[in-house]
Amino acid sequence: MNHVLNITASNTPAVVERLLQVTRYRGYQLTGLQMTPRADSRSVAIKLSVSGDKPIHLLTSQLHKLYDVQQLELVSAELAVLSA
């Protein structure tokens, strides 16, 4: 099942690595990644596309715990299929 996560995070040096590390460790495959620093460069908008057999809440609940993650929005699975 494909999922798209729209994430707003602090623009720290390791923020993308943190997201990818959690995604890999929790057993999801990365299928897409877009990253755009916000105008003030203090935060970044990240679109993370992932696929995995497990329920997606097992990933989002872990990503939410990352200290740099400010907002996390799960785009519906149907939209995720379209954009994947």
Binding site: P13, E17, Q21, H64, K65
Partner: protein, 551 residues
């Protein structure tokens, strides 16, 4: 002042008076500042030991443990201990020196990407880029380590930041306060209804209860809602000793009464625990008849491995009174009491040789009130959990989630420094003890009166037990019969000791150990054939325990 001095100032503002560490090139400015500081530094003999001491200090006291190391190998040596703190939710701040920013990224001497290494083993980590952000970063590190579900935080500080000048004026309230815990009682009514309707409820208690400071609320909850209770390894000591319905530890080496009762219960009230695989055995067959109430501070634990019929997130102190509903389960209580009696421990081991469970029971009965026992990992660790009783989980420090051999001795050092008035006993195995044996030098240097009990079967006993049961008795690399002479080894560090081999020597040996005012090593030789029972074999349900007679 220099950045290095600022580090110590900020630590003092957080009430830190004890640090564990080891110096090296990239952290020399901080060690130079330490030279004239009132913060007491305890030199470990390996950074892993220093960080375990910080964990022992934190777990015994409830405060944040602090450790330091230099760049490169110093920092990599911390990794195992940080992972241990991560899996057991221990608040630790680790400070590492880093090479100067001018040479970072050039494979400089003793340079390693510590921030990268830290990702999997810390709750959060920082690389400080300028001296201006140093104080705020350290404040954040302390706040994160203690807030919500606690954990380790690493702060990597390049040498040029340590050497940079800054005009530092501590703010009136410098510290970032740990974020308040948001508590939702939305499901409290549902939980109360489940408790009121349950015919066979049971409380499954984890480390989250005492870490939330909710020991009092737990006793009140169990008194107002009489029900059997079981604990995880990390929660041993959570249930008051006079609670007649307590059944012991559950899981792979849990008591038969605890495991059978959990398998039979119709409501499992999980308090600050996480359905670890060593607890559940075969997850699909775990507590198959039970509805679940799950109370935790970490949203990611809810529905992670077991669906919760009612989940409550937040502060255990508030939640426990809110879900109290009163129980009416006299038949269930008497059934569980009967299980407890039927499957009670037996200590009538034949022969003259020392039986570790009995020896540990004797140790438990003889040790002063409020003693702290620090374990290593393996058979002795499970025997301690089975046969010793504790009055508080902060009196039983055991590496639970990571199961790290080498934890016990350095953790005991930290525990002794956190609570100098209490007796501290490191119970180790002959395998585990050798993993951080260098910390005997720390005990010697600071004359720490830590009591060390080595349970020696000349084997890597737990691995040997599995080889015996599940690998056709092919004893690959588990024979340690060429162990050093542990008493002579202790003597080399000016620690007196004694070796015993017979049951009838135990009482007098324990008395001698406790009577001696300083550190002491008691070498207890046991039969290599003794195993840990009961045992839930891999893939089995928790009621399918193997016992000694069945094996």
């Amino acid at each position: 002042m220099k950045g290095a001095e600022l580090v110590l100032k900020v630590l003092q503002q957080h009430g830190v008076d004890t640090i564990f560490g080891y110096p090296g090139g990239a952290i020399m400015p901080i060690y130079d500042a330490l030279y004239q500081s009132s913060v007491k530094h305890y030199l470990c003999r390996h950074e892993q030991g220093g960080a375990f001491s910080a964990i022992g200090y934190a777990r015994a006291s409830g405060k944040v443990g602090v450790c330091m190391a230099t760049s490169g190998p110093g920092a990599t040596n911390l990794i195992t201990s940080l992972a241990d703190a991560m899996l057991d939710s221990v608040p630790v701040v680790a400070i590492t020196g880093q090479v100067s920013q001018a040479v970072m990224g050039s494979d400089a001497f003793q340079e390693i990407d510590v921030l990268g290494l830290s990702l999997a083993v810390t709750k959060h980590s920082f690389m400080v880029r300028s001296v201006e952000e140093l104080a705020a970063t350290l404040n954040e590190a302390f706040a994160i380590a203690q807030s919500g579900r606690p954990g380790p935080v690493l702060v990597d500080i390049p040498k040029d930041v340590q050497l940079a000048d800054i005009d530092y004026q501590p703010e009136a309230s410098t510290s970032v306060k740990p974020a308040p815990v948001a508590t939702s009682l939305a499901n409290a009514a549902k939980a109360r209804a489940l408790i009121a309707a349950a015919k066979k409820p049971i409380a499954y208690i984890g480390g989250g209860v005492h870490m939330a400071g909710a020991m009092g609320q737990l006793q009140q909850f169990l008194a107002a809602n009489p029900m059997p209770s079981v604990t995880t390894l990390k929660a041993m000591g959570s249930v008051a000793k006079d609670n007649a319905h307590y059944l012991g530890m559950l899981g792979m080496h849990g008591t038969q009464a605890a495991n059978l009762a959990v398998q039979q219960c119709d409501l499992l009230i999980c308090l600050g625990a996480r359905f670890d695989d060593r607890v559940t055995g075969n997850l699909q067959k775990f507590a198959p008849l039970a509805k679940v109430i799950h109370v935790d501070i970490d949203p990611a634990e809810i529905n992670k491995v077991r669906f919760a019929d009612a989940a409550l997130l937040g502060d255990m102190q508030q939640i426990l009174p809110a879900i109290s509903a009163g129980t009416d389960c006299a038949d269930w209580l008497s059934h569980c009491a009967q299980l407890k009696q039927q499957y009670g421990w037996r200590y009538d081991h034949p022969g003259e040789r020392i039986y570790a469970p009995l020896m540990l029971k004797q140790l438990s009965e003889r040790m002063p009130d409020n003693s702290i026992v620090c374990c290593d990992v393996g058979q002795h660790q499970m025997w301690v959990a089975q046969h010793m009783r504790f009055s508080h989980p902060r009196n039983h420090l055991s590496s639970g989630g990571l199961g790290t051999m080498g934890f016990g001795l350095p953790a005991a050092i930290g525990a002794k420094l956190a609570r100098p008035q209490d007796t501290v006993i490191a119970v180790s195995g002959d395998g585990s003890f050798m993993m951080n044996v260098q910390e005997l030098a720390t005990i010697k240097r600071f004359r720490l009166p830590v009591k060390i009990v080595i349970v020696d079967n000349q084997r890597l006993g737990m691995v040997k037990q599995w080889q015996q049961l599940f690998f056709n008795e092919r004893y690959s690399e588990t024979n340690l019969s060429d162990n050093p002479d542990f008493v002579a080894l202790a003597a080399a560090f000016a620690i007196p000791g004694h070796c015993i081999t017979r049951k009838d020597e135990v009482e007098s040996a324990l008395e001698a150990m406790f009577t001696w005012p300083g550190p002491y090593l008691l070498h207890v030789c046991i039969d290599d054939k003794d195993n840990v029972w009961p045992l839930v074999p891999p893939g089995a349900a928790n009621e399918e325990m193997i016992t000694e007679t069945k094996a």
